[in-house]
């Protein structure tokens, strides 16, 4: 079980890392767009998986690998915090505030959507 969860975690971190690199290569923006999109899409996917798991539509190993492992490692809170303080350090208070508020609002909204779809 540990191997499955860990494998899901590795896959999630890879997706986050390469997606971040890809977004960064497109154009350097003031807004941490990569983490923003990752956290929202991951919230949606975990919401979907959570509903399926609660209803017993998917086996336990599937929930642990894709939910706990993949979604858990794909989305991140620490980078979100660090990017916020980077914005604060650059005196971009408005951007920092917008980043926090929009991440939370859209994260919750998409988690709800995923849960209702599941």
């Amino acid at each position: 079980m540990i191997i499955l969860i860990g494998a899901g975690g590795i896959a999630g971190a890879y997706c986050r890392y390469y997606f971040g690199k890809w977004v960064f290569s497109k154009r350097v923006t003031l807004f941490p767009l990569a983490t923003f999109i990752i956290n929202i899409s991951g919230s949606f996917l975990l919401g979907l998986l959570y509903s399926l798991h609660i209803q017993g539509d998917i086996p336990d190993w599937c929930w642990l690998m894709l939910g706990t492992g993949f979604c858990g490692a794909y989305t991140t809170f620490s980078t979100f915090g660090y990017e916020t303080i980077q914005l604060l350090e650059k005196k971009k208070i408005g951007f920092a505030f917008a980043y926090i508020v929009l991440s939370v609002i859209f994260g919750l909204l998409f988690a709800w959507l995923g849960m209702d779809l599941g």
């Binding site: 540990i2 969860i5 860990g6 494998a7 899901g8 975690g9 590795i10 999630g12 971190a13 890879y14 986050r16 890392y17 971040g20 990752i38 956290n39 991951g42 919230s43 996917l45 975990l46 919401g47 959570y50 642990l64 706990t68 492992g69 979604c71 858990g72 490692a73 794909y74 989305t75 991140t76 809170f77 620490s78 980078t79 979100f80 915090g81 660090y82 916020t84 303080i85 604060l88 350090e89 926090i100 991440s103 939370v104 994260g107 919750l108 998409f110 988690a111 709800w112 849960m115």
Partner: protein, 133 residues
Amino acid sequence: MNAIALAVGAFIGTILRYEMEKWIEPLPNGLPEGTLVINWIGCLFLGWFFTIILFRFTVPLSVRTGVGTGFTGAFTTFSTFSVETINLIKKHQYSLALSYVLLSVLCGVLLAVAGYYIAKYQFNKVNRERNAS
């Protein structure tokens, strides 16, 4: 090397989160304490780590990726935080949901700032000692 470091860090971070979630029960009122503590630790650590390697230690890129992006990134999570908050809202525990969001976000950012200043303090302390000798 970067890819291997990322995988090793992510594996350890994910398993540590899984074990801690099992070990730290939600509070009696239903506040998801496990995720909260995990995200707090991760914010403090990353604020410190990314700052200390800028000033104090030069580490290879693979270490930065393995520890920062891999381990800490996989250890902390946003998706569980979102789903747990929605679950509180669905149970009509609105004030608890709001508390959870505020505690996660505000304390998370404050702890990242604290990590940043701890690293800066360590760097300045070393410099002062150097200048004194």
